[in-house]
Symmetry: D2
Subunit: 375 residues, 4 copies
């Protein structure tokens, strides 16, 4: 069977001077194969990924694998534990507002430099090995700088050290009030249909700070440079995804089982599992390019009844939300209805009825297209 | 038709030095009758009451009334506007932790003193009038003290000034994740069946700081003293209730309509409406005494799947919640199930999956009994 | 020399399911003597007490003692670690607003019951031992109730279990922006002059939830009952104090040394130290009774320049604060000066310039008197 | 005398549906001259600038000016009013962590496009006028987009609309615990000595989202393009600065007077005042380039005694801070001293003693140089 080990990574110290740890669960197969890295809860209120990892571990205790799978639940013990009122203020560092998912490292200059050291004869495996070492030594260097680094960035870089070893990186998130969706790098678009996730956002080779980008931007950029230089397609078979598995602030063991199976289907297709029969579902998958994944902000403050359920198909002009204005309950202005500016699928909405002007009310698929058909 | 007026009450000034107002909507009938006071959102995240008041206003624009109805939505403009993360931290003053619903005024000594001034010949109407004046002058005195008062208490007393004029006081609240329930003073138990609310908590003549108590404790205590003194039943026909209409942080216009009708049924039964046919529903109503409305606290921290839905009937030993422990995902201790310690109805549960030890997980009816039968 | 030991007490579990510990440092002398319990930082932002305990430990490593001294720094690891912005939101549970220093246990009925079991022949030492056992078994019972307890109360009761063993209980706090002051129970007034603290608040036998009260109210009440019953003065020589050592959110090793010496002077006078020459300073000590320790609340919101320094003597009519109103910078109403309503000593003021109406601006000694004269 | 007017700008609506306003105070001289824009408190806890504007207004009521001066105190009524505990969480939007000072607009492409429309004959005044119109129409366009904008960005753009009219833009800030310092764009370096501010940070033509940058990057870039194209030095005489006037969370009318005079000295030198004798002080001014303004982060969590006062000169190896570790009070590891990694001037430090690992402990001038000598 697989070799299993468990370890802890210190990622921070709290104000009591105590270490804050992240658990690392590792399964190593007898036979070689891809390395997989899966983490959850970098945003402290997005806890469902921990349940998915729980189900994955139950399966992997029984299921032989190729290669290696590292599972990192509760990967942000700081964010998980910041309460403000009954909810978890886990999206950003409460001290400075830094989003916990924006401090990963991508350095195009480093990729360029590295690319110069690769010649046509060097096998891919060797290039990958050397590139990983270069990157990790770069991250080490940053983590050990004299003047230090901010907490979120320290956390991100320590996780990235682990993740950069992997061929497959999956970062488990949740939306506010949300339906399932996945961010897929454009060059790995084919993999979108290996997960059982109905909504797909295709993203370009642009870095905005997140772990999936910090992974694929490096490899994608290196591929592009080498392919151009060597005038042949160079592929490193590294893929990275952000999965958004429904709403934050709730967990469900049942829903977690669904997402665990979805991930196992992908891993099986990628050759990580021995004699397994996990297959992607035949289902409708709808996709957008990132520029068509739009945020609708409120123009007004008030109290909102969210009329359009995440995942539903809304036509231009149909109501999305109805806002109550407490100062005009006796007049026609008591309520205002916000209409869809075009055909769209709301993917998630703000989790509170009380909104200020400029609140991110809905995020929506517009100009979307069908990736796979259901039955 | 009714005479309608709208006014604003200044209840606070913010750090920009600006007034924070509460809107007062008032309907006055042509004919005498009870005075009604209804407020909502003293807890800033409990916003559904504003929708109920919206529906009440729509009705009262068409419906003749006896007496007077004052409607006060958004009665805590401070609490409504304190965000911490995406949610509203509206249960308590973010500066000092003071619950916004615990600073109303009840002074048994004042009631005792006042009772001495009542003789047997004085008609009830006169006693009520004089008692109101005494109370309101007492509150005035406190509001104008040299050394001042805390923000929450100022807010509470300014609202209580208005509410103490009324014969019927209804304070609209929501639970965290909650089913409909109502707090009913024991002496007004008969009124519990006039609302369309399935879960009833019967409360004794004990003051804990809330508006309903600050209302009925005064009148109930005065009734008791005078009844004893005059050796006959003295009744002032003042009633006060806290209605909890489902979950905080969400509104629904549809659900609000249900609760507006429920309140109109009560008001109709109390003689506030002219030629109206609002009747309480035939439905099952279940009640507990306050001491049997129990809080279940967590013994452990972790991530919770809430298995028992608010309003469901749970037998002793059945599962209420399943807690995930991220450090033991590979062992038998990965999950722990919390069982019902006795037969119970969970009324509400904590709104976040992430809990520390000592979290108020569920509030439950135990030793409950049937008040009215459904069909 | 003293026997030293170190231990950890688990007081909570966080949302990651991990234990949160309180360190217990214990010095035990070779010879019998009083038991001392000193804790710090029950309010998470009041951290200077940890420094004082640091200095006490440095001394106690060299200084022989009678009896036993237990030192408990960082006694609220939850509160210490709740940041909101750059500051520590440590005065109350961020989930429900519960003040971390209001959940200790005092049950007058228990004292009454217990008093009945004491006869005139029983020696004080035996009464104390039995009373402690009764109390601790009562607290045990509460901590182990089926339905559980809230987090703050669990924390308080676990600490109280330790503290109730002691003859001397010192709870180290800080004010917002504050000068040194101490709460002294009226019956132990003589001890006020054994500390080097210039401002003394004398408090009656009334329980409001804090640790010092939870300690002395039990013993004071028992003393009173037994003294009356036995018609002689019964004394248990148990004392408890809350020390407020300057401002929250800052520490100073130098100031901590001053307060450590102050506490050692008291302990020396109480016979806790062998051959030590710590003596209380000759200094002016000023006292008030609790009812004359007054809070001045703001009537308005705005931005405040605090003109009166904590500890200074202010005459009636002199300025305490000047408030800026951003909407009237061009008029006479641009600033408003708040004057002292009577002769007073401001002891502490609100730590932020930005205030809403109803903010606790200053806490002041009024009608104070001199306890000891300086030189 | 000057013509004075006062106006309000609506910048947001709160959850009660109410407008949140910013006051605009405007002085217009009889004679033409530069337009000046001064705002304060975009970060809600940085309130001293409001006092400075108060003093400026008192002066300008008496002092004739050339041109026009617009003063905008309390420019972020949202941030000013978010309390969390006693402090103001005003650096970022509490909902999403967005820094209130990072959403101004700079579009190099727009500058490039615009530059093409300028020919050598066009007078500077005309270019400035047209460029302002182009920019403001661009901002208008963004403010009115169908999908809307986030709250912080809406606020920023509405203020930028006003500020972009000005030749002189001054943004008044405070540091956490801080000494006076100023950000000066490299091309306006000569102006650094016109303020009475001892610490100067020289910044390059790089946009990071702040108002000063959003102002000077546009003009500086346009200057550079046109100068190159026209092969002569084109200058628009637009300058923008961020002034940091000491610590947040406090105000002082006395200190505010100092800073008002400092600003008046600059304005006088720039020809904004008639017959005024405000002169910059002869004083030592020390400067760094932005890359040498370094942040020192903590490697550990704990409780900090800040040993190095802002503004003091510290040698390499001298102590900056001493950190207490509550778990090791009995050992050598009880305290740890953080030493200066090189010669430096600490300009500001973190405002709380309690820090996690990765906290921005100090910001320091390194490799600084003298700009002007004192006497």
């Amino acid at each position: 069977m697989n070799h299993f080990s468990k370890d802890y990574l210190v990622v921070a110290q709290n104000a009591s001077g105590r270490n804050m740890n992240v658990p690392l669960y590792r399964f190593k197969g007898d036979k070689p194969g891809p390395k997989v890295y899966i983490q959850s809860s970098i945003h402290g209120a997005e806890v469902q990924g921990n349940v998915v990892i729980y189900h994955l571990i139950q399966t992997l205790k029984q299921q032989q694998i190729y290669g290696e799978i590292t599972l990192v639940p509760n990967c942000n013990p700081v964010g998980t534990n910041i309460k403000a009122g009954e909810y978890t203020m886990g999206r950003f560092d409460p001290i400075n507002g830094t989003n916990w998912n924006r401090g990963y490292y991508f350095d195009p200059a480093l990729v360029n430099e590295f690319a110069k050291t690769v010649n046509e004869q060097e096998p891919n495996a060797s290039v990958k090995k050397r590139f990983r070492e270069a990157m990790k030594s770069q991250i080490d260097h940053r983590l050990n700088s004299t003047w230090g680094l901010g907490l979120a960035q320290q956390l991100n870089l320590k996780l990235q050290q682990l993740a950069f070893d992997a061929d497959i990186v999956i970062d488990l998130h949740n939306g506010p009030v949300s339906t399932r969706h996945i961010y897929v790098p454009d060059y790995a678009k084919a993999s979108a249909s290996l997960f059982n996730i109905p909504h797909v956002i295709l993203i370009p080779n642009v870095f905005a700070g997140a772990l999936d980008e910090a992974t694929f931007c490096h490899w994608w950029t290196l591929q592009d440079i080498l392919s151009k230089k060597q005038q042949r397609e160079v592929k490193f078979d590294v893929e990275a995804f952000t999965l958004e598995m429904g709403s934050q602030e709730v967990i469900s063991f049942d829903e977690g089982q669904y997402d665990a199976v979805s991930i196992l289907s992908y891993l099986n297709a990628k050759g990580c599992l021995l004699d397994a029969d996990y297959q992607p579902k035949t289902m409708q998958r709808v996709a957008v390019t990132l520029n068509n994944y739009k945020i609708l902000y409120t123009q007004q403050g008030g109290i909102v009844d969210y009329l359009a359920a995440p995942g539903s198909h809304i036509k231009a002009g149909q109501p999305l939300a109805k806002i109550l204005n407490v100062d005009d309950l006796d007049s026609d202005k008591a309520t205002e209805t916000i209409l869809a500016p075009c055909d769209l699928i709301p993917i998630l909405h703000f989790p509170s009825a009380s909104v200020l002007s400029g609140t991110q009310l809905y995020k929506c698929f517009t100009d979307y297209f069908t990736l796979t058909e259901g039955t």
